[in-house]
Symmetry: C2
Subunit: 472 residues, 2 copies
Amino acid sequence: MDFTIQNTLIPVHHGYETVDVQIRDRRIAAISPGLEAAGTIVDGRNKLLLPGFVNAHTHSSEMWQRGIIPPVPLELWLAELYDFVPLDPEQIYLSALGTGVETLLSGGTSVVDHLVLIPGQEMETIAATVRAYREIGIRAFVGPLIQDESLSAGIPSGANQHNHEPYVRSTQETLALLQDAVRTFHCPEEGIHLLPAPTGIQLCSDALFAGCIELSDRHNLCRHTHLLETRAQQMLAQEKYGCSGVEHLKRIGFLGSRTSLAHCVWLNDADIGFLAETRSTVVHNPLSNLRLGSGIAPILKYRQAGVNLAFGCDGAASNDSQDLLEAIKMGTILHNVTDSDYHHWITPRQAVEIAALGGATGLGMADQLGSLTVGKQADLVLYDLTNLSLLPRTDPIGLLILGRPIQAVDSIWVRGERIASDGKVTTIDLDQLRRNLFDRSQWTANRQSATVNHLEARYRSVMNLPTQKISF
Amino acid sequence: MDFTIQNTLIPVHHGYETVDVQIRDRRIAAISPGLEAAGTIVDGRNKLLLPGFVNAHTHSSEMWQRGIIPPVPLELWLAELYDFVPLDPEQIYLSALGTGVETLLSGGTSVVDHLVLIPGQEMETIAATVRAYREIGIRAFVGPLIQDESLSAGIPSGANQHNHEPYVRSTQETLALLQDAVRTFHCPEEGIHLLPAPTGIQLCSDALFAGCIELSDRHNLCRHTHLLETRAQQMLAQEKYGCSGVEHLKRIGFLGSRTSLAHCVWLNDADIGFLAETRSTVVHNPLSNLRLGSGIAPILKYRQAGVNLAFGCDGAASNDSQDLLEAIKMGTILHNVTDSDYHHWITPRQAVEIAALGGATGLGMADQLGSLTVGKQADLVLYDLTNLSLLPRTDPIGLLILGRPIQAVDSIWVRGERIASDGKVTTIDLDQLRRNLFDRSQWTANRQSATVNHLEARYRSVMNLPTQKISF
């Protein structure tokens, strides 16, 4: 279906203009005042049209554990997460729907789902996720989260030797599974992309990385991984490789213009140079970095070095939401405390560019997405500027990025299809989703994680924390 | 009117219970399962009842400039703010309504409004603000923002001498005005409290502080001020007093258990000791501290020293919202990056205690507000746990504090009066407020502040920033 959005505000160089925007054959066909009406007319008065943003890193099934994991660092948080991970593909389907809805209603039209797989039901997990994203109509980049080492290997050994249990699946089985998933589900022309996405150097062998590189080169797929999220991972990389994790990934050929790297908190100046040189993308997840105490990623340094950036929510158990505008706001203002020269601080317009074009660039789609450009695919979001949270009227983009917009999205198009209007996602039954999420969960507090109890003493010792232990 | 809230979830030691809560004669009269119904029945099923939070520091009229001031540090931000400050009491009324609505719908039942006064219409400014808060029914602590030195005096001199224009009003006139405001508007039994609230050491003489202390002692009023928000203020205090700003305030007798201090970013260990010793309250405003690049207040150190804490949104032009839950979330997770021992990190339940009881304590009302305690005044908020943003069901307080609740407030009582139900504030016409805010404003970008242009070179020089200048 085609659309003409009439009299909408769009940002132009240093200001705003009121224009009509035509969507034809899934693409932005024209942007100009006074266009002839074609297709469905949409009233754009008192509204702001922006390119859709990219939620460039999340883990959808974490939604089942949002709000429940106590304040602990990543290594212990992961232990608890996996103790209670959902094991039913129907749950995976529901949390993908929830992740999609929250991403859309906070300005995101694409989501990168670094998807935790149910052991033994890996293909079913991916199928359930893809089904959810297809139903809802969001553009999805699904990266099955793979590893070939067991969780305890992700904590540095320090002075001691540790033997870790072998992982449940061999490297070759995992790569075969991934190949199978690509063959079955990768369908970019319908908005479903598969990504080889090893979880990270902390839990993956070089053989697994090599297999992912080979697969992504063969099928022209983007690559995705976590990188140096915590100080413990920085220490582990030195133990494992004798060099920084970034340098190692560069050596084995994982970096590149089709590679996006979640977190990148613990990088040195040489590492930053490697990212710029290889045109890799850093996905900044400010909320989980704070929530898990991982640190503040040196985002202003990345900008100065010319490294491409994108924003992500990260999984809902470490955020604990999927509100992309919140992640963008925090990723914008957080860094002001890291550099006293405000000329380096991120402006709201720069934040929009990171969220839209930066995200698209990291997914190899900068020529197709990420800006209001005639010929690009119509992934667009229309914001209602008469919403109380965007009043009084000042600078619309300033209000959107620095404020706290509450249900300010009016309409959404993905691949030219309108999937939300009047502030509601129209492709699924939201009340039914709420009922399903409600019925499959219960209020709780103080659950106990056996694995945290098992790992905590070792973690505290390696990280030089006092050895006394308190229970949660 | 009396109420019985039936079958609502409340937090109890380490868990939750389902109870009935009776509100009688403006107070919490009973909390227990199976109470006899009295007054209006409220269905509390699938809802969480919490004490109302305190938005312990804001400036309501800044709402007119939210989203518009570029990313600059406080000293330049202030210069721009005052170049475009609203000058019509009707605007002040509207922004106080907006501030009240946003505070309420994000869990706040009390607001501390450090109110910027229109020169020459000071009493009209206060009257308009009080009128708004009375209409809406929120409990309000109005601290007319006073100073007796001109804005440029707030920037350190460095090696140079600077002469500053005298302030528009004399110290004695200002104190007389404040006395008049207290006589006219202070009415705690109706939920309107006045606070002597000098803007801060950077713009106030000791005589002004002394007058405020005298007035607050005479009328048993709480006191409020900004304190060491920026590094520039820390430098200025040394120039002005030869000691830290905290030490100076202690010497002149401004600190104490009825004193709340906004920001407290640049304090040393001795300063922290002074705050603990005097039982002063720190109001943490994490969002404006980040937005203005002021720094990260050492909140975990305050907790360890036993300093009482509260959360504030700060004015909407430096936040740029009035969503108290957002400020609480950021004030909770931000500090995890400042201390690697997660045993010190703030838990969601501790955050609730800071937001409710900590706020009440800083306003001298800990015996009246801030907890679900029989006999306390009924300032209560009921959250709808079937809201998508609070699903799936896990730990309700974890979801509320660490998540991103979107319109999750169902009902609000202040002083036992129900002022919101079904997620809507019922005391004012919200559509009319939106129309008024819309009609009195316009979309804009790139306005130019003459005062910023005037002050910037001096600011950059004193703060040792490179001297090249870019325009916004």
